[in-house]
């Protein structure tokens, strides 16, 4: 993990455990599960990366402990999500968790009776190829693969189920983070497979990819943990950008209609208004487009564009749904115009070549 990201990570953990935060809340079950998740996650991070600890215990045990702590912290996090929404843990998740703990206990007992080699550095312990250790790592990777699938599923449900933009954004970040974490676990499995195959180059590539994907996942998780005021600001920024995009799409639709209908008496807002008052311009664009469409529909002789595209607008739609429908029509028209232009350009090529 890069030092800057590490500082951010440690700062968040310290912030979670500031005395007044811990003392000011009696602590619901969910809060303590989250605190347990953060604590065990930090502990797993320290156990897995501390060089001093490597001088005290064998680095192989550091990895084994880290796998245990990570699994447990993820279980805590899932427990918190289930607790807050009142959901029940699916059976396949329970099986994955108990299978990991079972395998971990058995392989630990086996490894306790094994004479472990001294590793030159902590990273070389990752290449330790004792069967019990490999089995433990595969069990951990598979189990966390299932857990991250479940995390993604939960966050996706939160994301799509939330009406408020800040919430959607936060759960969007978390869902993307868990997707990357899921992919990361796939690369862990690939790395273990390359160790079996004995391909040093392939294993170093797999390890490098795994670490980079892990970094991306961490960035998304940290983004998801940003305070509400930052998330609200981001949400407003995204709404503004989306409005600007919608205005462009509706302008395209309007320009497609302008050739077929009479000009409207209302003046078009200028670019400055578009930047400063996007809501006004967006609303005006919707009304202008609908005016033209209805006018066009009342003048059958001037039907130069396909009216079947607009028939779906007659359904009773909420304004938001109507805007989505209009944007779809605009995109279809844009693609058709692009295709027609490309066809024209491609059609001209042989003529020019012949000249």
């Amino acid at each position: 993990m890069p030092p800057l990201l590490l500082i951010f990570f440690v700062a968040i953990i310290i912030y979670f455990f500031l005395p007044h935060h811990v003392l000011s809340r009696s602590g619901s079950r969910t809060t303590w599960l989250i605190r347990g998740f953060v604590f065990l996650n930090a502990l797993a991070f320290w156990v897995g990366s501390d060089t001093w600890l490597s001088t005290v215990i064998n680095p192989m045990w550091q990895i084994a402990l880290r796998l245990f702590l990570l699994e447990t912290c993820y279980v805590f996090a899932l427990g918190a999500l289930y607790s807050v929404k009142g959901w029940k843990m699916p059976r396949f998740v329970g099986i994955a968790i108990f299978s990991f703990y079972g395998v971990w206990i058995i392989t630990t007992l086996l490894l306790l009776q094994t004479k472990l080699p001294a590793f030159q550095d902590t990273d070389s312990a990752l290449a330790y190829s004792a069967l019990a250790f490999i089995v433990m790592r595969i069990a951990a990777a598979l189990s966390t693969l299932v857990l991250f699938f479940e995390f993604t599923r939960c966050f996706y449900r939160f994301w799509t189920g939330d009406q408020l933009l800040a919430g959607r954004l936060r759960f969007g970040f978390f869902a993307l983070g868990t997707i990357f974490a899921f992919v990361n676990r796939l690369f862990v499995l690939v790395y273990i497979a390359t160790l079996f195959l004995g391909s040093a180059q392939a294993s170093s590539i797999a390890l490098a990819l795994e670490k980079n994907i892990n970094l991306i996942a961490t960035v998304f998780f940290l983004c998801g943990c940003l305070p509400p005021f930052v998330m609200k600001g981001l949400a407003r920024g995204l709404v503004y950008l989306d409005q600007q995009r919608a205005i462009v799409e509706l302008a395209l639709l309007r320009s497609a209609l302008i050739h077929t209908t009479a000009p409207l008496p209302w003046p078009l807002p200028d670019w400055r208004t578009r930047l400063q008052e996007p809501t006004y311009v967006l609303y005006s664009s919707i009304i202008d487009v609908l005016d033209r469409l209805w006018l066009l529909e009342s003048m059958p002789s001037q039907r130069n564009i396909k009216m079947d595209e607009f028939e779906s607008l007659h359904d009773p739609l909420a304004p938001d749904e109507l805007l989505i429908r209009l944007r779809h029509i605009a995109r279809r028209i844009w693609f058709r115009q692009l295709f027609e232009r490309l066809t024209t350009v491609v059609g001209r090529i042989p003529v020019r070549a012949a000249q």
Binding site: L164, P228, W266, T279, L295
Partner: protein, 197 residues
């Protein structure tokens, strides 16, 4: 957004017209959660001592709305003049609301329209489309043949006021959507307990 600080570019409208629109927006259009066509009409009814009645009728092509004032009949229980706001049949809900907002904007801006007696109105009911071509009638239309500038300026003023009123409402809805943490109070508590907000 503060309407005093900057008004969207209105093209052909002069400063006097813009000032009137701003005054009407601030004093005669309900703001915030209270905004709705019904509330706006109610406010205008009590402010102008009128009754506003909405009807939906088939109008000629290119006409979306029209307005007429019906004078009270002698001896009738209703003493107030009735503003009849006609919207074209078959419009989408958003368009119908907008056309009503446009006609209410005409009323709020004090624009005159055709005044009918009860008898004239009864005669008109056979062909209401006559109102659309009546000289001086306020209509929301995109008829290219309407080139009378004073009429057009009135229409642009009303259209601008209607759009500003709807925009203010849309902005409020958007702000509300962006201002909460999540839609779920339990999730809000969780996030606050985690973030420490």
């Amino acid at each position: 957004m503060n309407q005093h600080s900057h008004t969207p570019s209105m093209g052909v409208l002069n400063d006097r017209a813009l000032t009137r629109i701003q005054e009407a927006l601030e004093s005669l259009v309900p703001a915030g959660e209270a905004f709705s066509i019904a509330n706006w009409a109610k406010g205008l009814e009590s402010f102008l001592y009128k009754r506003i009645h909405f009807v939906e009728l088939p109008l000629p092509a290119g006409f979306f709305g029209a307005r007429a004032v019906l004078l009270p009949v002698d001896g009738a229980r209703e003493k107030r003049p009735v503003e009849i706001v006609i919207t074209a049949a078959g419009l989408l809900p958003i368009m119908r609301e907008h056309v009503r907002a446009h006609e209410l904007a005409h009323i709020a801006l004090g624009h005159q329209t055709v005044i009918l007696s009860a008898q004239q109105f009864a005669e008109l009911q056979q062909d209401v489309t006559v109102i659309c071509h009546w000289p001086g009638a306020t209509c929301r239309a995109v008829d290219p043949e309407r080139e009378l500038m004073p009429m057009l300026e009135r229409d642009i003023m009303a259209e601008t006021l209607a759009r500003l009123a709807e925009k203010r409402h849309m902005e409020l809805r958007l702000r509300n959507r962006a201002s909460g943490i999540t839609s779920d109070a339990a999730m809000d508590r969780l996030i606050k307990s985690v973030i420490g907000a």
